[in-house]
Symmetry: D2
Subunit: 384 residues, 4 copies
């Protein structure tokens, strides 16, 4: 099921779309297809299926992403330079590994193997999201602006309520409580966090609201920006979210169905942490911390945009890096990145949860990243 969904995401692509890497962070779709397969081959099949034969001796080198434990690999920025293996060959690779997995899973397997298989599927779901956003980047930066396909209009249009939920001061338990199935190691250990009272917006910021920020000249007003954010704005001539194009004196937005007039009531997407943070400062508010977000998440709908938080991606109290290659999964990225919470319209169904921690460098915005605001409640005014 999960494996099939990856291929469905690619069903409208041309062969050429599978190959290119227009940004270091954007991997070629064919690389995602191979890498998610390599994960099963390397972590599950090779060590556990006695007579398993590698599909191709060079693929471990080609499809390793960042696991130092497995030695040499194609450097990330070179993924788009590889025309081979072909797309067809990679699909054959997927068949080969899927059949071996079916064979393995038809037997009695250990708990550890079961856990690794589930990790492999969750890993593939993570890549499904990246695959969708990488495809959007590839097509949305092509001068021909090709259509991908109509995405269901599942986005709940933001009502203009501007309501906030009020959360009381108190001790909250944060992190996955392990009783609801799989979670990543970075969601552990569950631990207590003390939170002062705060308010958090019930809706995401819309394109219309973000447009006011632009029209107020906020991209050029240093007061709202981190110093590194302002450098990023200046060095890259940033003046709007990614995929906004100023054409014929109006803003257009590249979406799966091509270049379209901006939908003002949609939640804004594809903003960097710097932009989200500057927007909040312009509103005289702030982004919620990831702890606030998790404590309050039952008070609002979420799931259409990954939401930037004001929290740096750091280990939870009690976190420990697993032994061996699996230990490289999360821990080694816990510096210089910011946490996002929620999920987005391209997150696979069932893949997210309230304890889920996504993370990116603060300048990145090719994911469906959005903005939810929060605000302190001044104790003195708490009877408001």
């Amino acid at each position: 099921m999960v494996r099939k969904r990856t291929e469905e995401i690619c069903s409208t692509l041309e062969i050429e779309d599978y190959v290119v890497q227009p940004l270091a962070d954007v991997s070629p779709p064919k690389w995602h297809l191979g890498h998610t397969t390599w994960f099963f081959e390397t972590f599950v099949l090779s060590p556990n299926l006695p007579d398993y034969i590698l599909f191709n001796d060079s693929f471990p080198y080609v499809f390793n992403s960042y696991y130092e434990s497995f030695g040499a690999r194609v450097i990330r920025t070179n993924r788009g330079n590889l025309s081979r293996p072909t797309v067809q060959e990679i699909y054959r690779y997927r068949r080969h590994v899927d059949e071996a997995m079916e064979h393995l899973l038809s037997q009695q397997i250990s708990d550890e193997l079961d856990m690794l298989t589930i990790l492999g599927l969750n890993h593939e779901e993570q890549h499904q999201e990246l695959l969708a956003t990488d495809i959007k980047y590839i097509l949305g930066h092509n001068p021909l602006f090709p259509t991908y396909k109509e995405i269901s209009n599942a986005i709940i249009p933001n009502s203009p309520s501007n309501e906030f939920a009020r959360i009381n001061e108190g001790l909250y338990y944060i992190g996955n409580n392990r009783d609801k199935g799989f979670c990543f190691d970075n969601e552990l250990e569950r631990h207590a966090v003390f939170l002062p009272a705060f308010k958090i917006a019930k809706e995401l910021i819309t394109n219309a609201q973000y447009l006011e920020f632009i029209e107020d000249g906020a991209y050029r007003n240093h007061e709202y920006w981190h110093a590194e954010g302002l450098d990023w704005v200046k060095n890259n001539n940033i003046n709007a979210p990614l995929y906004w194009y100023w054409v014929d004196r109006q803003w257009r937005n590249y979406s799966a169905s091509g270049l379209q007039p901006l939908k003002l009531n949609d939640p804004v997407a594809h903003v960097s942490f710097y932009e989200a943070s500057a927007f909040a400062a312009w509103k005289k508010m702030r982004l919620p911390t990831e702890f606030e977000w998790e404590a309050a998440n039952s008070q609002f709908d979420w799931g259409s945009r990954w939401e930037w938080t004001g929290s740096a991606y750091l280990p939870y109290s009690g976190y420990s890096r697993a032994a061996g290659p699996i230990g490289e999964y999360n821990g080694k990225f816990m510096v210089n990145q910011m946490v996002l919470r929620g999920a987005s319209i391209v997150t696979p169904p069932g893949h997210s949860r309230s304890s889920y921690r996504n993370f990116f460098h603060p300048h990145l915005r090719w994911q469906y990243t959005g903005i939810r605001l929060a605000q302190n409640i001044d104790p003195a005014l708490s009877i408001e």
Copy 2:
């Protein structure tokens, strides 16, 4: 007094030493002398002393550091390209401003002006520390390894006790409580943080202990490193702390008195966050968070090294950026940096306190940065 101390730090320099900028982060000493003076001229004198005349119309351009509010400035990496104004002229500038300040302070002044003056003195103290470390960088990277001067051996030699203080789980109040005089805005607001039980080392890691880490090949073992830390190690051929030189088959250390044999019992200094974090991982421990550090700081001696914490530099709950240029002092740097706590042997006397938050990018190490370890106390083993 404070102003005089800045000049004393430079008393053994040659004119040439005042001029160079061997690293973007290392400013020429003469720039520090001018910039700390510009701060008083710009924030205190010009707006408040009616007949104040600028010493030189170009100096605001030359000595502004990063205040966007004051417009154009010499870009940071160009500071070392300016031979003028001369050192002598900058000392004259200091006299000019000091006299005007004396004149101003001889009058009745507002609380705000008093606050600004105190901020100016604390700002200058911060630059005294940078001045000392920048001078060390300038001399310690010169192939002649000139002597600066003997620094008093005030470093308390680490006893090899390896003792840990145990801190109980509970709610701790973190941040400056405003009742002990000046603090920076980033130490506010004081707020409650819940901490699980933990242990924290009573002593800093010594050169001898760090040497074991090196000799174990830990610089080449990816298991201990952040991914970005490992890139930093590889790209810069890092294999020891800054100022360690492998000469004639032994480690030597550049210090104020020149190139000297490594003192094994001294606390290690001049390591990056990446190195501190990798060292902790190698020891199967971790760095304390800044909250743990502040909660526990009365249990150990500190003050010889700035100590890397596991906390990213973020605003405290309740922090708000001041209006106007003063608002640029701290808030705009709250991304991509890690917090250091404590103080170092070149911190001006009286300048630090337990709530003080220093911060640097994780790869920087020209400050006297050191390592203190912490560890969780597993609740199940808490009767150990």
Copy 3:
């Protein structure tokens, strides 16, 4: 015929091979297919065929190479980021333009139009050579080392004669004399050059001879190198020609038929000007100037390797840049490049001639570049 040959060069490619750009200088094959077509559309059809309709309004933007006269274009390093137009669509573009050209040429056409058509075909032949070498780069840098196809063994194996032709001092006429059909503007004007007596090798340097240079440690001996050449060697860890791989303790060479043992008697290929020049210095000789080469070319066989000369690419006496976009063809590159003479095994038949001037930056070597030596004849020893 010429148009068809371009497509034949691609006949063994997979779709994916058409798309990638592993080096800024290496364009995706599909870009070559489109650009050579755009040339006819832009220079011949649009201005001359009254009812000609552009195949696609965006293609002029996508397929312009460097003509400032035609405004905006995809920057060169982005060519490999474009998955669209697809290969199939570009072949349709070729059909569209070919049919319009046939229509145009079936009419009475002006001399100028005839000249432009011939220029278009020569332009396409130049791109055929680049196409062949770009494909080699794409496949030869893929970790799977795919086979392209067997290239006929038309390379005349170098006999180990080491003979030199002796050329007398005198006035030689250099440049195209316009009586043998088409030539590029950079081959004009034909002009007199005085040459002292010299010797020039009858054969190219072989792989075996180049191997001696390597084994003598010459890549690490500064005496043979230009200063910028030595920097290039050090910064890129160069220790052999391009496509030489040291595998299992022997040198292998990537060729159209895959990774093969090095053929010792083949002329060395894929060396930079820096390497060619250092090799000559190591032999205590020098490279011929382009004038010497042209004056002597009837004395030896040439055509398997482009041969680096000691001449910078500069305008000939009497050269003048044509008016309009055609003037951008050659003249604007006449700085910082070195001249190559001859032709290579992938030069289209009939495309070269003794007055032909090829040119590349001195560090480039993805063309089939080789080495021919020359030497002064000391007048005093001329009776040798």
Copy 4:
């Protein structure tokens, strides 16, 4: 005498001016003082004066410029990072070496030693020119625009004659004929060059003439530029010669006496090869080749500007690189640079001659570089 002149050039400097390196190509004045001294120490004294003692063991490392033969050295871009040795110490170094040289020269010395001493003095004269232009760069890029000193108005004001000298077709002997004293190896061997008839301007281009080029928008018209020249213009926002500042709606020019109104009749200075070449194209003329310049030089006054030629810096016929370190003097730079002929107002008296070849990369312009035009004489029109 020569040695003293170097110090006189520095006589108006502040200590700070000796230290900085605002551009990789601009060395700190104190480095020039030390390097020219190191040359005598290394090439003359150490090998020839039996009991000579190095002034300081580290100086060979500090003051080697680019001689690979002498091993490790401070990398060029780091020269401005070295505050030590101090200026005073370098002057002591100069005394030490001068005295040893006097001692050596008071004895009977070999021809080779005599030759080396003369080379050392010529080397120092070359550095005197660089010293003067580096000082200009240091002061002329300082926001305070300090005065250096009044340079004598020895520039012969260009009369507006616009006259050209006509030179007949023929064989000309180019290169130093060794009968007039010292020359550099790159001026050899003297050899015959055939030149078609040409015209060459009797005067240099003036600021007024260059201003027309600017005002015609020529910096933005691609037709006049090399492709790499246009990139240079765009990437560096070039719109005028170096040291031209647009202040208060008029052009000002930084000169030794500070920022001054542009002198319209002075020959233009501080243009790059790209600019010189574009200017010539705009005038529908060209730059002379270095051979034309040398053949014609008795027909015009020269010496106030180094004049860009259209010739790449390549070895003359018969040139051979000397054995040993002296062989590194010139030959290894013979790629990617263009030849300048003449001399400039800061060339030491007696240092230049008609066979002298100066050379720089085409984008550099911190020397006193100017423009002289040339033109073919169309044989058909030769009776004009």
